[in-house]
């Protein structure tokens, strides 16, 4: 009995759920049954993933001699993949609790659920892949299944465009990943991941670096590294809420898993520059991600850019880990790997939660535009509280889990001086500073992301009429509980992660990470210390102190309740509030060079000779720099090449006969030679 058993069970449950969903999700009972099976599979996957953290790597197995195209099906449950598998399971359970109330039973839903469960199986296969071929086939299956997932409502043009961006960039990444794998397997002579990892040292340094770079870019397409990220803001808004949650919570993490796989197991590159490149890419991604998030009104696009930001943070941690490894600082290497993986788990939880809540909001009010919402905390209090838990987590505020993992990453980065090299130290500090900027902007962005829709007054009638009745609560609520548990129980989680990382890196952190039962230190005893559990308990108790003071010193005199002093205003209009774009105006003005907004203002008095006033029309658009200056020229280049080649396919039958004749001649000559 190994963790792999649980993963088999999960795959079986999800496969059955896919079939059941395809056949019966047109009726409510079928929908419920499909989701129940999906939840069971999720539980099994979570258990298997959690167990494999402490179990270590299972041997590579080929279940029942099964084969896939090109070779045997090879599976292995590794501890590096353990966190990702556990996250997959938890997200699957949450989405399974969420889906019955979110989707209406119909033919579209049955196709969607089938594609979703196939995607779950494919993700699991990617994480449990023991061989190169299995990995690649599972990866491609996952991409195709997610493509179908996004196309839930295929008739709308934005949906088709978003799904197309996803697929195109997935395939581009896949190409590069195949190339990376081919390099490694041809140089080591193995096709099992364990074999490649074991013989990674025999690959010449240049080839290893090349494979790593190809993997970084190839998996970077999926992970959302800038400038490979453009599919995220296109695909996330148009997918159904649980589809977006799945994409951000799991699929993006698979890209990160791929990068970690190549960086720590398969092709750990020699030299510092790969680590520097990775760290730089991560830092730039984080900053650009959150800056673009500030300019978004659509809640889901905003969350998509925030996913890009967090992916950048994780990749920065991995890059810094690689740098420390190059300088033989193995404890910091292992520590930053733990920090990065912990952030993966945390971000998976609260990003999924936020996307699910965005879906609840969209269904309750009919809009995703923040500027049409407001005051939802009064209409949907429980959803607002759950969304607040997610917001606290993603803004990295104590005592929740985002704070703990970002603290760990920062503490790792702050120890860059231990490398002894001035240049490297400065670059690591620059990365830390960029992450600091990102953290500050993230708090700003999420004050906006939570405050504008949930607080204040409703800006439209739809927002004022929102109701929580019939909306899913259990799924997001479960994730909120998991977030709190990950924060308060951080020492336990970190202990398990330390065991997992020991299998990958061979470094035992033990007392260098958790000296006491509940305190965490960043791999060195003389640097910093912090206890997430005590912090959480302390904050809760601190909140009780004002209450106690009030109870003890309650005023004896008669007290009167009067409304809050608001300047004596007699009527508030919703338009007196901040809007989403005015709240972020300081950032947009400061970073004007990045956004390059195109602004058009028309006043009626421009045309009217008498200069009469009337409504002023103001329109500002953020320029999509990557699409315009990177992708479109590239696509035009491809189109030009295609134009060059087009004359071959002229439609002229005589020319085609000439081709046939020429090939036959060629075959004769080659056969004769």
């Amino acid at each position: 009995m190994t963790p792999l058993t649980f993963l088999y069970a999960a795959a079986a449950a999800w496969g059955a759920a896919a079939l059941l969903g395809l056949l019966t999700a047109r009726v409510p009972a079928g929908l419920m049954a499909c989701c129940a099976l999906s939840a069971l599979g999720g539980a099994a996957a979570a258990a298997g993933g959690g167990w494999s953290l402490v179990y270590g790597d299972t041997p590579v197995v080929s279940p029942g001699g099964a084969t896939v195209v090109g070779g045997p099906l090879q599976l292995q449950a590794t501890s590096l993949a353990g966190v990702f598998t556990a996250l997959l399971g938890v997200v699957a359970v949450a989405i399974a609790c969420y889906a019955p109330r979110y989707h209406t039973p119909s033919r579209g839903t049955s196709l969607y659920l089938a594609a979703y469960n196939v995607a779950l199986v494919a993700c699991l296969a990617v994480l449990a892949a023991g061989g190169m071929v299995t990995f690649l086939i599972a990866w491609e299956t996952m991409s195709l299944a997610c493509y179908l997932l996004i196309l839930r409502h295929p008739r709308a043009e934005p949906v088709a465009r978003g799904a197309f961006w996803f697929l195109a960039l997935s395939e581009a990444g896949f190409l590069l990943v195949v190339a990376a794998f081919v390099i490694l397997s041809s140089k080591t002579g193995f096709t099992t991941l364990a074999g490649i990892a074991g013989h990674a040292g025999s690959v010449p340094g240049g080839w290893r670096a090349a494979a790593f770079l190809l993997a970084l870019i190839g998996f970077g397409f999926k992970a959302g590294l800038v400038p490979l990220h453009v599919w995220l803001p296109e695909a996330h808004p148009v997918a159904p809420a649980d589809g977006s949650a799945f994409l951000s919570g799991v699929v993006v993490k698979l890209g990160i898993y791929g990068i970690a796989l190549f960086a720590f197991r398969l092709a750990p590159p020699a030299g510092t520059w790969p680590g520097l490149v990775t760290m730089g890419a991560g830092a730039v991604t984080a900053a650009i991600g959150i800056l673009y998030a500030m300019a978004e009104r659509d809640i889901k696009r905003f969350l998509a850019f925030s996913t890009i930001e967090n992916a950048g943070i994780i990749v920065t941690a991995f890059g810094a880990a690689m740098i420390f490894h190059a300088y033989r600082l193995q404890t910091l290497w292992a520590f930053l790997l733990i920090a990065g993986i912990y952030h993966v788990a945390n971000h998976g939880c609260y990003k999924t939660l936020l996307f699910l809540e965005a879906g609840v909001t969209e269904h309750a009010t009919g809009t995703r535009d923040m500027d049409r919402l407001g005051g939802l905390i009064h209409r949907m209090p429980r959803s607002a509280v759950i969304a607040f838990a997610g917001t606290l987590g993603i803004a990295a505020l104590p005592p929740l889990n985002g704070f703990v993992s970002e603290w760990l990453i920062f503490q790792g980065l702050f120890q860059g001086f231990r490398t002894g090299s001035h240049l490297t130290g400065i670059l690591i500090v620059l990365a830390a500073a960029t992450l600091g900027l990102t953290g500050g902007l993230a708090i700003y962005a999420f004050v906006r992301g939570f405050g504008i829709p949930y607080l204040g007054m409703p800006r439209t009638r739809q927002a004022a009429a929102a109701t929580e009745k019939g909306q899913p609560i259990l799924g997001p609520g479960l994730l909120a509980v998991v977030c709190v548990a990950l924060a308060v129980g951080a020492p336990i989680v970190l202990a398990a992660l330390a065991r997992a990382v020991r299998t990958v890196t061979g470094v035992t952190l033990g007392p260098l990470l958790l000296p006491g039962k509940l305190t965490v230190i960043p791999a060195h005893t003389d640097f910093a210390a912090f206890s997430p559990t005590y912090l959480a308990v302390f904050l809760v108790c601190a909140l009780a102190v004002p209450g106690l003071i009030y109870l003890a010193g309650r005023p004896r005199a008669r007290s009167v309740s009067v409304p809050v002093w608001d300047g004596g205003m007699v009527s508030f209009r919703p338009r007196m509030q901040y809007s989403a774009m005015t709240f972020s105006a300081p950032t947009r003005v400061t970073f004007d060079a990045l956004y390059r907004p195109s602004v058009s203002v028309t006043r009626p008095s421009d045309d009217d000779p008498a200069g009469r006033s009337g409504p002023v029309h103001y329109e500002a658009q953020v320029t999509p720099v990557f699409q315009r200056y990177l992708y479109r020229p590239f696509v035009r280049c491809l189109e030009w090449l295609a134009d060059l080649v087009r004359p071959i396919q002229s439609g002229d039958v005589n020319l085609y006969l000439l081709y046939v004749f020429a090939v036959i001649l060629l075959a004769y000559f080659l056969g004769a030679v």
Partner: protein, 164 residues
């Protein structure tokens, strides 16, 4: 609470420090200029322990000018309710006391129509000295004098110095 009790409460609870919130309910702003002069070096309100504050929540005394126009009545009530007790309302200026616009359809005519007034300070505008005397009366540090002034000549009393 009778005026005497109020005086005594105010003297006991406010001691020698008082925060004043001024409220303009539609005056011509000359009363406001006189009030503003109080903080200037010549009259120097702060030496007596009085301070201005914009926040009703921090205020002890509401100094109201103007004839209480109808459009402002709701805001004036909200300001008064936002002040924590004990609080004193002082109406100052002929407008606030019912003169000048007694029958204007857009005003209530007198501050008394909306707020419960404790001290009245006549004048148009009341000079800073009159305001100082009124504030002193409001906190119970100065004695009222107008009760004993008959406003008949030639036997109205000589102008005497104020009490401390």
């Amino acid at each position: 609470m009778t005026p005497e009790e109020l005086r005594e409460t105010v003297a006991r609870q406010f001691g020698r420090s008082l925060h004043i919130r001024t409220l303009d309910t539609g005056s011509c702003a000359v009363c406001e200029q006189e009030i503003r002069l109080l903080a200037a070096p010549h009259y120097d309100l702060h030496r007596l322990g009085f301070f201005f504050t914009p926040a009703p929540r921090h205020a002890d005394l509401l100094l109201v000018t103007g004839p209480m126009i109808r459009a402002f009545a709701a805001a004036a009530s909200k300001t008064y309710e936002a002040m924590p007790g004990p609080k004193v309302v002082v109406a100052t200026g002929a407008c606030a006391l019912g003169g000048v616009y007694p029958s204007d359809p857009f005003t209530h005519g007198t501050v008394d129509a909306v707020l419960p007034v404790d001290v009245w300070i006549p004048g148009c505008p009341p000079s800073p000295l009159a305001l100082l005397q009124g504030l002193g009366v409001a906190v119970g540090r100065l004695a009222e004098r107008v009760r004993d002034l008959p406003f008949t000549a030639p036997d109205h009393p000589e102008r005497t110095r104020g009490d401390s």
